[in-house]
């Protein structure tokens, strides 16, 4: 397969992965592996910023890569840190020249056998998500002509992450909607159960329910659920002290 085919196939493969219910970590690992083959570098890794601005090494093409990324994050120096802070791509063709720039990262990376290091930002407009790290065993390991392609792959990672966040948020809101609606339904059903069992009207049924919840320091919704599920007998609601005006007729 020639290079153009490989690049095209990689993008199709990544797009195909972005379907419903995909696993983000799995997707980012695939992306890191494909970066290695398409960009002809030794290793690739995805570093993502968490809610507190703390970076996390989410997916790496190898354990060697992962360890160096952890050093970057722990010691707070290295290309991905600079890239994430600035939002701009970072190039270092000669790691041996970079021990001043990155006093912790550069020696560690050299010791692991890397000779050059690059980082491409993952961002959407003003929103900086993280960086795509690319390390090579040789100096000048990322061909200049590959830079645009590296950014395109970082953009695919960005889309994958934002898509996953959107879905997660949607699922959360949908779950809240269902819970809140069900709570309403169950509360009304419980009033009906009490009204029928205790021969009271709906207002009195609600007063009994609320009186019981307060007396037992329970959530109204929980008492309602128990009444509907017949875990709490209606008779035990009606004999409470202090439920004035809500006694059975």
């Amino acid at each position: 397969m020639n290079r153009e085919d490989l690049v095209a196939r990689t993008f199709v493969e990544l797009a195909d992965t972005l379907v419903e219910n995909y696993d983000l970590i799995d997707f980012l690992h695939l992306l890191a592996e494909r970066c290695v083959s398409v960009l002809e570098v030794a290793e690739a890794g995805v570093v993502l910023a968490g809610g507190q601005g703390q970076l996390h090494a989410l997916a790496s093409s190898s354990e060697r890569m992962h360890l160096i990324e952890l050093i970057e994050i722990q010691r707070q120096d290295g290309p991905c840190l600079d890239c994430w802070r600035s939002g701009e791509a970072v190039r270092e063709d000669h790691l041996t020249d970079a021990t001043g720039r990155w006093p912790h990262f550069a020696p560690a990376a050299i010791e692991s056998g890397f000779a050059s290091a690059y980082a491409v930002p993952m961002r959407l407009r003003d929103q900086r998500l993280g960086a795509l790290n690319l390390f090579a065993n040789e100096v000048c390991g990322l061909d200049q002509s590959h830079e645009a392609l590296a950014q395109a792959l970082a953009d695919v990672a960005t889309i994958g992450i934002l898509h996953e966040r959107f879905i997660a948020r949607s699922e959360e809101v949908s779950a809240q909607l269902q819970v809140a609606f069900n709570t309403r339904v169950v509360l009304e059903q419980a009033k009906g159960v009490i009204a029928e069992s205790a021969r009271v009207d709906m207002d009195q049924a609600f007063a009994l329910l609320r009186g019981y919840a307060r007396h037992h320091n329970m959530l109204l919704s929980e008492v309602a659920r128990r009444v509907v599920d017949r875990e709490t007998a209606v008779a035990s609601l009606a004999i409470l002290p202090g439920t004035r005006g809500a006694r059975p007729r």
């Binding site: 949607s170 809240q176 909607l177 809140a180 609606f181 339904v185 009906g192 009490i194 009204a195």
Partner: protein, 231 residues
């Protein structure tokens, strides 16, 4: 519909989404017009068989959803359960929904279409379309309808995301208000028949069906103790 038209619709909808609650009604009107059907409704389905419209383009569209609530069957329920689009271009000859079919025809629907509202693993209803003459959706309109269902899903969730957890956005709350008497009656019938909420709900709907009355009216009679369900 060309993709240009589809994109323009979506752009206008998204512009409105953060604003007034009219956006879902507008979406239904837009679906009716642009998808070349007679009407559209956004049906919310919270528990398994409980569809209720939170927005609709016209009376028939909301009646089609209400009928599904009463009969416990129909395109919105199937789309919601299966997670896939449901297409019934010729209701008159279809045996798919034996109870709903004749009622929907009588209400003025000859063809029914429904597209699930879903976000990731979550599903909570269906965009329901009807047309007063039979036949499939027009060329390219199937994909457009699916897109509109995605937009309806996003708009609904955006509205719900505006309120704190535990509460409901007013257009969803409004559906709950309309159903209050039904849920109260369900609780009473549970005691009368000694059954769970599903059984009691089914009994209420069946009574409404055989007496050809709205479920809400039957429920009001139960709550006012004019009707009792006996074993």
């Amino acid at each position: 519909m060309t993709s240009d038209r589809s994109q323009r619709m979506i752009r206008r909808l998204v512009e409105q989404a953060g604003g007034p609650d009219a956006s879902l009604e507008w979406l239904c009107d837009t679906c009716a017009r642009e998808l070349e059907v007679s009407g559209a409704a956004v049906a919310l389905i919270v528990s398994g068989h409980d569809p209720g419209s939170i927005a609709s383009s016209d009376e028939v569209a909301s009646a089609v959803v209400d009928l599904q609530f009463r009969t416990g069957e129909g395109p919105a329920i199937d789309a919601h359960r299966g997670g896939l689009a449901v297409i019934e271009p010729e209701l008159a000859t279809s045996t798919r929904w034996p109870v709903l079919g004749p009622e929907a025809l009588a209400a003025g629907a000859e063809a029914l279409f429904a597209f699930p509202l879903r976000a990731g693993a979550a599903r909570f209803g269906a965009l329901t379309l009807y047309r007063d003459r039979s036949g499939p959706l027009g060329d390219g309109l199937f994909a457009a309808a699916q897109t509109m269902a995605e937009v309806a899903c996003e708009v609904t969730l955006r509205l719900q995301a505006q309120v704190p957890p535990g509460s409901l956005h007013q257009i969803i709350d409004h559906l709950g208000d309309q159903r209050t008497v039904i849920y109260q009656a369900t609780g009473m019938v549970m005691v009368q028949l000694g059954v769970g909420p599903e059984g009691a709900g089914a009994a209420l709907r069946a009574r409404a069906y055989v007496t050809d009355r709205p479920v809400r009216d039957v429920a009001a009679d139960v709550v006012d103790r004019r009707i009792r369900f006996e074993l």
